[in-house]
Amino acid sequence: MTRAAVLRDFQDRFREDILDFFDKSPKRAYFEINPDALVPAATYIFRDLGARFHIASGVDARTHLEILYHFSIETMNLLISLRVKLDRENPKVDSLANVIKGANWIEREIHELLGIDFPGHPELRRLLLADEWPEGVYPLRQDYQEWDKKAVRDRGV
């Protein structure tokens, strides 16, 4: 399939769930997708189109939280990013870890750093943060406040 055919086919399959499409360059395409339809859309890209899952990146965009799932189809030199926008109050999106093994750790990392919940994840333990880190404090949120009373924030000069 050509690049145009792949993108058109994807748009036809998930017509109701694609909220926005941004054709950035010959190498990149962005789909904003309904969070409920993330798992079938990602499964289709991963299994049927034979794409590679690179990474997911979480962003706090102040008005909402969003996750970008980056897939690449190497035979046609195309990078497809699926964007889901999540509510700040109760951010939640279904886990991809059961379909894509490589999504397991990055979902754990996004869970602890941005506080996004992934229902269906096999074990949503902490990945990187220290043991003494308090529950419910997410360091990559824009409204993160210093919680450690012992922290020294000057250079001592």
Partner: protein, 142 residues
């Protein structure tokens, strides 16, 4: 001068401890071992195990997870007397990570530091000069 201190200064064995650095300081420390700088002519040797070390060269920005390990290494595993050398901007004041959520305190708030070698990364000459100054200070000869 005690016998242990004299033995330590004759040939200090250095252990290289990275606490989450960008590895530039680590590369400069490895440069010290190359024939161009060759710290073995001062008797210094890179020790493979912490149990053999007399000098701890600490690089990196002292993050929460690694400092638990550094504390246990300093308090329980290094044979005393042991001197601690902070190499690079990160281990002294945390450099650009001073406001990072994961780097709450500089190295000298956790363990006593004897020599600070500034630079980002410090040149091998600076590292050698720092350690030589430390040895002279411990010997008592200026």
């Amino acid at each position: 001068m005690s016998v242990t201190l004299k033995a330590l200064l004759k040939s200090p064995w250095v252990f290289h401890l990275a606490t989450g650095s960008c590895n530039n300081c680590d590369i400069e420390i490895l440069d010290c071992l190359t024939p161009r700088f060759d710290i073995e002519r001062f008797g210094m040797k890179l020790a493979g195990s912490i149990r053999h070390a007399d000098v701890l060269l600490v690089t990196g920005s002292c993050n929460r997870k690694s400092m638990v390990r550094v504390k246990s290494i300093y308090e329980q595993q290094v044979p005393k007397p042991c001197v601690v050398v902070a190499v690079g901007e990160c281990s002294m004041s945390r450099g650009m990570f001073v406001h990072s959520y994961n780097c709450p305190m500089p190295l000298d708030k956790y363990i006593p530091v004897d020599v600070y070698i500034p630079g980002c990364p410090p040149k091998p000459e600076a590292i050698i000069a720092g350690v030589v100054k430390l040895i002279e200070k411990l010997k008592g000869t200026p």
